[in-house]
Amino acid sequence: MIWNEKMECMSRDEMTQLQSERLVKLVKYVYDNVEFYRKRMDEHGVKPSDIKGIEDITKLPYTTKDDLRDTYPFGLFAAPHSDIVRIHASSGTTGKATVVGYTQNDIDVWSECVARCMSMADVTKDDIIQVAYGYGLFTGGLGAHYGAEKLGAMVVPMSTGNSKKLTTMMVDFGATAIACTPSYLLHLSEVLRDEGLLDQIKLKAAICGAEPWTEKMRTEIETRLNITAHDIYGLSEIMGPGVACDCKYHAGLHICEDHFYPEIIDPKTLEPVADGELGELVFTTITKEGIPLIRYRTKDLTSITHKKCECGRTSARISRFKGRSDDMLIIRGVNVFPSQVEAALINVEEVTPHYMMIVDRENNLDTLEIQVEVDVKYYTDEVKGIEKLTKKIATVIQQALGISAKIRLMGPNSLKRSEGKAVHVIDNRKLY
């Protein structure tokens, strides 16, 4: 089912025309309302009047996560606070969170985009959908929730953390769709199997996102639960889930291109690359009011095609993600930067700056172990002393990352020292 045929199936020429009009308007809007962009464009020697169409977008400077950090919390907001109706936040690279704000119109656009994505999974107003993303500052829960309401579906706001209640309600309510991370859905399939509930569920479709996953995982989910699983993509800086999603042909993720203009660039040279070539995904939020971003570097590596899809949609499609151009990890759907761990450990006087993050997946749930070397003078020969220190570090890490980690204390010099760029992460999950 196509939610908005006009926007999703318009000819490429019409789309280019629409994007051009919206970009011209956006650039003037941010120049007039965001001091940061006014300065940066001035430094770059580009004026709003230089932007006459979408082809002029390459004249504009890029925006990065660091720019959001440097202007924390509201420095990039273009709308007055009285017009902002919602705040969300995600992990920053160090200490401070990345904060985004939405006007009522932004929320409406977001809901529209999520409704389009859910329609790609053939979810309709007749469905009962469990939203099992976290509700709160994270965009997953509320984003999926508002989109599903827009669709007119019956929304069950499960949030995260209680698999037993979720599976019980899935059976009792006859839920037909679910929105959650793909790894959590795999985990749920095991819970359902162990409880002997697999033949009692009415699930048809899953809209999975917030973390990278593979085709193999999709097949696994679809086979185990006898459903179709769709890959929904988004990031809070651009909006949240709903930026793109794959249709039943699973031939790439359709971008809501009338709102988010995509470019693929070479992360080294920052030059655009051709369709089909791997590069970093960059978005310009051409209709956003709260915190519009120009050429925001997502650091996600993918390729793009502008060919019409078998489903009838003409929107540009991005391939499954092939990795990141930075060191960000996504653990249990939460963005984690090694630099956050580093910044947190600096405040623990008992440990040295040497650490190693081991990411793995057990029973389809992400695990994070952080190995830290304790300063020799803080060792104790009592188990309870070691346990106290372990707990202290675990608390500091939990506060910094927003997810729990298992802390393993290591003897001095037991963590590998690398020559050159330090390696702080071992990711055994094979997600790309």
Binding site: V376, D381, E382, V383, I386, L409, M410, G411, P412, S414
Partner: protein, 142 residues
């Protein structure tokens, strides 16, 4: 009187304990008794050695987190109930035992190594009850 115990933190890794013991062997530090508190992730090796200061230094130089801990080595006569009597005395004086293990050296008496939360008080209590503790010199001469 207290003596110095050599304590070493060892993360659980195959061969790690052997590495510690090799450093001690190469530096002629003799182990008189040992205890290993093990958890799933690490072990705490506690050693009574003939030369604890030297043992600590050579282990630190070799990159191990070693430290000295004051403990009591209490002589326990080979008579049924003597250990129970000592522990009762310690408990009655509201002293907590952090850990304990036997000293495996052949003498006329048995001995136990005890770490408590109040070593001075423990010494005093034992002394007034005529319970002997070993001195560092005695340990060094074993």
């Amino acid at each position: 009187m207290t003596v110095k115990q050599l304590s070493v933190f060892i993360e659980n890794r195959r061969g790690r304990l052997g590495e510690v013991l090799k450093v001690l062997k190469d530096n002629n530090v003799n182990i008189l008794s040992m205890s290993l508190a093990d958890t799933t992730e690490y072990g705490l090796l506690r050693l009574i050695v003939n030369n604890p200061e030297h043992g600590r230094d050579v282990l630190l130089d070799a990159g191990f987190s070693s430290m000295l801990t004051e403990v009591l080595i209490i002589k326990v006569p080979h008579v049924a109930g003597s250990l129970q009597r000592i522990l009762t005395l310690i408990a009655e004086n509201e002293i907590d035992i952090e850990y304990m293990y036997g000293l495996s050296v052949e003498t006329t008496d048995a001995s136990i190594v005890v770490k408590t939360n109040a070593l001075d008080l423990a010494c005093k209590v034992l002394k007034s009850s005529h319970i002997d503790t070993m001195t560092p010199e005695e340990i060094a001469s074993l």
